[in-house]
């Protein structure tokens, strides 16, 4: 038995990071994610880790990458406009394959929007926010316990696949307090980045012959290296010629795409015989679960598909679902973003119907239930 605690989602996120071995946080105050920084500012100095409140969101993302290059497991947390500001350096982390975790507690937008209200409207920004083609891993927990465990998983995936990982949840679950169990050390396995076994002279930071996820050497570890945000050769130095850029970008994509089975996680609830499916994550997933239970009580065969990994998108699973249900209902706190992915994967095999809300309140179960009844 681990430790039971009553924690806010943002606090559980910080606990998850610490459980995963995070020793470095850099951030900037922004609602509704600030509690992650506040929690880390108390805990990290106690364990000898580094806490930095930087001058802005851009700097926080940069510091997190710098800390990771020096070998630390690093975290930053932000929301709304702050997530927009982080995009450039997030792209640097992706191209340079720097493990780190970015928390986005989603609030209403665009611009300053609704700082204290929940939203799920950053979800396409999570996928396409930084310029250029790039792989993305993004997790979407919906319960405080899950925020803990998915933050641990985010660190593990970052280390395993040598890439920044985003954890995106909404203001409601970020601020909600629930009882959670923090498992004893060792219960959840912890991944650590693969480090080189070759000599420093032989080491190349992006050596594709070592696999799609080449080993990482820490700065100051004797493996002197050059890291650049320019497209680079396997030795890390800039190249601007084909075919290297093409093959390396394909490798970056492949290390996520080819490992989807390992990365994608979701909950299927009452889907076995379902005629109507609800596709929802985060707080909308919670409402979805309640709506499905009410529908079942009313004799309607409804079920829930709740992704915990939103990127890479569970394409095959949604395609299979679309082939066996009459309709998929997609409630989201936006004016319709993730529904595009559901439609893309459903390929017209079933109806796909959205429920959208951006007024600062969650989509309630009744709204979803009404839609289930309408499409059944």
């Amino acid at each position: 038995m681990g430790t039971l605690k009553l924690l806010q989602g943002n606090e559980a996120c910080a606990e998850g990071a610490l459980y995963a071995g995070c020793t470095f946080f850099a951030g900037y105050p922004i609602t509704p994610s600030t509690e992650v920084a506040e929690y880390m500012s108390r805990r990290l100095p106690q364990i000898g880790g580094a806490f930095l409140q930087m001058e802005d969101e851009i700097a926080a993302m940069a510091a997190v990458i710098g800390g990771s290059l020096a070998g630390a497991k690093t975290l930053t947390a932000t929301s709304g406009p702050g997530f927009s500001l982080k995009q450039e350096n997030l792209g640097f982390g992706m191209l340079c394959e720097v493990p780190c975790v970015v928390i986005d507690v989603m609030r209403g937008g665009p611009s300053t929007g609704v700082p204290t209200g929940p939203s799920q409207s950053d979800i396409m920004q999570c996928r396409w926010g930084t310029h250029g083609d790039h792989p993305v891993i993004c997790l979407t927990p919906g319960y405080v316990q899950e925020i803990f465990s998915e933050t641990v998983r985010a660190f593990n995936l970052a280390e395993k696949y040598r890439t920044p990982v985003i954890v995106a949840f909404d203001e409601i679950v970020g601020h909600m307090r629930e009882k959670i169990e923090i498992p004893d050390k060792g219960v959840i396995p912890i991944e650590n980045r693969r480090r080189p076994t070759c000599s420093p002279a032989e080491y190349k930071p992006f050596d594709e012959t070592k696999g799609d996820v080449p080993p990482v050497a820490d700065f100051f570890s004797g493996y002197r290296q050059h890291i650049t945000g320019l497209n680079h050769a396997s030795d890390g130095f800039p190249v601007n010629a084909s075919p290297r850029i093409h093959t390396d970008e394909l490798r970056l994509m492949r290390k996520v795409e080819a490992n989807k089975k390992d990365i994608i996680r979701y909950e299927e609830y009452l889907l076995e015989d379902a005629e109507v499916a609800v596709f929802a994550y985060g707080v909308s997933g919670r409402s979805g679960k309640n709506a499905v239970e009410q529908a079942r009580a009313a004799g309607i065969k409804a079920g829930l598909f709740r992704p915990l990994t939103i990127w890479p998108f569970p394409e095959e699973e949604v395609a299979a679902l679309a082939a066996r249900v009459k309709a998929i209902v997609v409630p989201e706190l936006s004016l319709g973003q993730i529904i595009y992915e559901v439609e893309r994967c459903a390929k017209g095999k079933c109806k796909v119907v959205g429920i959208y809300r951006v007024d600062g309140d969650p989509i309630n179960p009744t709204q979803i239930l009404d839609k289930i009844k309408e499409v059944k």
Binding site: A63, A70, I227
Partner: protein, 276 residues
């Protein structure tokens, strides 16, 4: 005895990208001589840069090197330093990189007084993108985005650094090379944030548009328009008009950020051991 630069230069990475007449090569060699005299092992030093001509320098040096995003070298370097506070971290930047797009990071790194040596190569122009005016382009000078002469007021980089809280501020030039070697050594030896502005010349995108006949004229301009700070301070204002002081312009004792932070960590550890 000639200095062995090869011990620090990465095999196969030269020639550099800088144009003929560019003074960055002079600074590059001076930096290598300074590091040699400080006897810092290559594994224990990191050189971080942003974007621009100056920012390509780290690629040529056989240290731990990091070429980041435009203006952001300092926060990347801050991350490295906080994770490994016992290592030497340096930043090399340009006038636009450090004081325009990176201006916020620059002033806050100065305020924090974290132990990073910041070298700003001021060539008065955005060179890599072809000659747009920067925060240090002299008023009236032509730039591709100031075709009628620059009307955009300037930053004085040492004043900015001092005002923001840097604990060591200096200025050298690519013309005064023996003095530059000494300044780089002193900047690197300083505990805390040190800012060394080095006056440079960009003949390609600045000089030829602004009545400098050749790169040599630009170096002679540095000679004719600079004064050591010791002489500068003794002269009346009418004698120093249009000239700039060089040397160690400012230094002070101030708490270094990593020492303060990890001092706190030690205090908490001691309290915990005592059961406080």
């Amino acid at each position: 005895m000639s200095f062995n630069y090869d011990q620090y230069i990465r095999g196969g990475k030269l020639p550099h990208i800088w144009c003929p007449g560019c003074t960055y090569g002079i600074v590059f060699k001076s930096l290598l001589r300074a590091v040699e005299s400080l006897k810092i092992p290559k594994d224990d030093i990191a050189l971080v840069s942003g974007i621009g001509c100056a920012s390509r320098l780290p690629g040529y040096v056989d240290w731990n090197t990091l070429h980041t995003t435009h203006g952001r070298a300092l926060p990347f370097a801050t991350g490295l330093k906080m994770a490994k506070p016992d290592k030497k971290v340096m930043v090399i930047s340009g006038d636009g990189d450090a004081t325009a797009i990176g201006g916020n990071h620059f002033i806050h790194a100065c305020r924090r007084n974290i132990d990073i040596t910041v070298i700003v190569l001021n060539n008065f122009i955005y060179g890599m993108t072809g000659g747009q005016h920067s925060p240090t382009t002299p008023i009236g000078h032509l730039a591709t985005t100031m075709p009628y002469g620059n009307v955009d007021p300037n930053f004085n980089i040492p004043d900015l650094a001092k005002g923001a809280g840097a604990s060591w501020v200096g200025r050298g030039t690519a013309y005064h090379v023996p003095a530059l070697d000494k300044l780089i050594i002193e900047a690197m030896n300083h505990k805390g944030l040190s800012v060394l502005e080095i006056i440079n010349a960009c003949p390609t995108t600045h000089g030829r548009r602004n009545k400098f006949k050749n790169p040599t004229d630009m170096l002679l301009w540095m000679k004719d328009n600079s004064l050591p700070i010791t002489a500068f301070d003794k002269l009346p204002p009418e004698k120093t008009a249009g000239k700039f002081p060089t040397g160690v312009l400012f230094k002070k004792e101030a708490p270094e950020y990593c020492e303060t932070y990890y001092g706190l960590v030690e205090r908490l550890k001691a309290q915990k051991a005592k059961g406080v």
